[in-house]
């Protein structure tokens, strides 16, 4: 009998706590007063005042309710403490009532309400303006800084692998060309140069494709691929303005008539590549320094630069030289292998090519792996 009573009372109370007569005044109160509640460890003195007001409000509401339904305080309390009222879901319903006695609970309710309102406000601003104004996004949020850093790293990685991919592509083009005709020896110089430029300067392939177009007819597919790559390159340049690499890239992108296209005719007319490779003369070294200088966007002649700048340029020049030598060596090997077998032109071919001892099986495997990776990456990037 008493149990039945209790159950009935509990149900009635829960019903009341979900009704507008309770929800509207309590929510109103919380929304009006929650703005001072932050999640600082220390409580403000004003919290206590607001808690007192809240107690009064709840007391009044519950008194009215009990009068209306015709139960006394004892019945109300019995119902609230009955096992029936202690289920998880009902505990949440009772929270606003319990908060009258428990300041900590009250505080957390208010802090939560404040946060909800703030998020709502942000959403409304976003919906209206399309984006948040600077004053709301400028705060140095540790999280976003980390995310930005992550993005930068990701872009750097993407760029790197794109370079590798481009390198691979130009290499393949070289191969195809050589297979196509042996009389092209004069015209493949620019291509080689453009390949170098790509790998050395991490220049955007926009510049690259210009060089290629200048030097030889490129198949449509390839142009498309490089064009997409070029756009990607530019995007990443925009995204991470802090890295030195990208600055180089950006400045190159501005003047697409960069070195290879201009320089190529002159050089190819005077020097076959093999000769140039063997000559480590003073003029060659100077040319490399000069190239590095231009690449860095420094307009002053080499001799007028500060010591540290000179040093930097020297390093860069050395690096360029090294890269060029590598490329030449590679090309030489490929030429040899070309002579022995034409099947080599498809790099996906797993034949270990026994006729060319210069390229070890291991190296080939590595090359294939790289190409596979680049292909996959390209696929992903283009899909996006």
């Amino acid at each position: 009998m008493a149990e039945d009573d209790r159950e009935w009372v509990v149900e009635s109370i829960v019903g009341y706590l979900g009704s507008p007569e309770w929800v509207i005044p309590v929510t109103d109160f919380m929304e009006n007063k929650c703005t001072v509640f932050d999640d600082e460890d220390e409580n403000k003195l004003s919290y206590t005042e607001i808690h007192q007001q809240y107690k009064k409000l709840v007391e009044k509401l519950l008194e009215n309710y009990m009068q209306e339904v015709g139960i006394n305080e004892q019945q109300f309390l019995d119902a609230c403490t009955s096992p029936f009222a202690k289920s998880k879901t009902l505990q949440i319903v009772f929270q606003p009532v319990l908060a009258t006695d428990d300041f900590q609970m009250f505080r957390s309710l208010m802090v939560q309400k404040n946060m909800e309102l703030q998020l709502q406000a942000l959403r409304v601003i976003k919906e209206r303006n399309g984006a948040l104004p600077d004053c709301l996004t400028d705060g140095t949020d540790v999280m976003t800084e980390l995310q930005q850093q992550e993005m930068r790293i990701l872009q750097e990685v993407l760029k790197k692998s794109k370079e590798e991919y481009d390198e691979e592509m130009s290499m393949r083009m070289l191969l195809e060309e050589e297979v196509g005709s042996t009389s092209r020896s004069s015209s493949d110089k620019p291509v080689r140069e453009s390949g170098e430029a790509q790998q050395e300067t991490s220049a955007s392939s926009q510049q690259n494709s210009t060089a290629k177009v200048n030097s030889k007819p490129v198949s449509k597919e390839e142009t498309k691929a490089t064009a997409t790559g070029g756009r990607d390159g530019k995007n990443s340049a925009k995204g991470s303005s802090s890295s030195k690499l990208t600055t180089d890239c950006g400045s190159n992108g501005l003047e697409p008539r960069v070195l290879p296209a201009v320089r190529a005719p002159v050089k190819s007319s005077e020097l076959p590549s093999t000769k140039e490779q063997s000559s480590s003369s003073q003029t060659a070294a100077e040319a490399w320094v000069e190239e590095a200088r231009k690449e860095a966007g420094i307009s002053k002649p080499y001799t007028e630069l500060s010591l540290s700048q000179q040093e930097q340029l020297q390093q860069r020049a050395a690096y360029l030289r090294q890269q060029r030598d590598k490329l030449h060596a590679l090309k030489k090997e490929q030429q040899k292998s070309k002579q022995s077998s034409t099947a080599e032109e498809t790099p996906s071919n797993p034949t270990p090519a026994p006729a060319t001892p210069e390229i070890s099986v291991e190296e080939k495997k590595k090359l294939q792996k790289r190409k596979h990776l680049a292909d996959k990456l390209k696929e992903e990037v283009i899909k996006k």
Binding site: N43, L45, T48, V58, T81, L98, F103
Partner: protein, 187 residues
């Protein structure tokens, strides 16, 4: 699980008996006495980054099978008028004194005697922490007790405990006294 309403206090006491016993402790004293440091030391938190309290702090500490809800309210002169808003239903008062600040012994004595006269603290046990004993210039607890005329308190339990909230020395002794006292009182 207790529903709480002012008119129903008698029943609430009973309801709370079903769960672990909760004790409301108010931590007061002049500014710079070390109340917040003491509170954090009780809660085993870092005591190196404490700034003057503008409002109040609350920590719940479990001790001797009881839940001690300790309220630390700022001690600056402009905040002191708010103290009396926090005294309702208080089971115990902790009063903290800077033992090295001799110039303000009189001031702190006045504040304490005002608290003792508060209606809401009638008969409420008081523990006085003679804090900052780690400082060379600190007065001993016995001297402070004399200066505060503690021996004239006849209407309640009291205790003075020398301590250093920074090092933690003496703090546990004080807490033991509190728990013993509360257990005796509630029985």
């Amino acid at each position: 699980m207790g529903e709480a309403q002012k008119g129903l206090l008698s029943v609430i006491e009973k309801l709370k008996g079903t769960t672990e016993q909760e004790v409301r402790i108010v931590l007061l004293g002049l500014d710079n006495a070390g109340k917040t440091t003491l509170l954090k030391s009780l809660a085993s938190e870092d005591v190196n980054t404490i700034t003057p309290t503008q409002g109040f702090n609350i920590k719940s500490v479990a001790s001797h099978g009881m839940k001690l809800n300790v309220w630390d309210i700022g001690g600056q002169r402009k905040i002191r008028p708010f103290w009396k808003k926090y005294l309702e239903n208080t089971d115990l008062l902790i009063y903290v004194i800077d033992s090295a600040d001799k110039k303000r012994f009189e001031e702190t004595g006045l504040e304490l005697s005002e608290l003792i006269d508060e209606e809401n603290l009638k008969g409420v046990p008081v523990l006085i922490f003679a804090n900052k004993q780690d400082l060379a210039t600190a007065s001993p607890a016995s001297e402070i007790a004399e200066g505060l005329n503690l021996h004239t308190y006849r209407d309640r339990e009291w205790q003075i405990q020398a301590c250093s909230a920074v090092s933690g020395e003496g703090v546990q002794d004080g807490m033991n006294w509190i728990c013993n006292n509360i257990v005796n009182r509630k029985k």
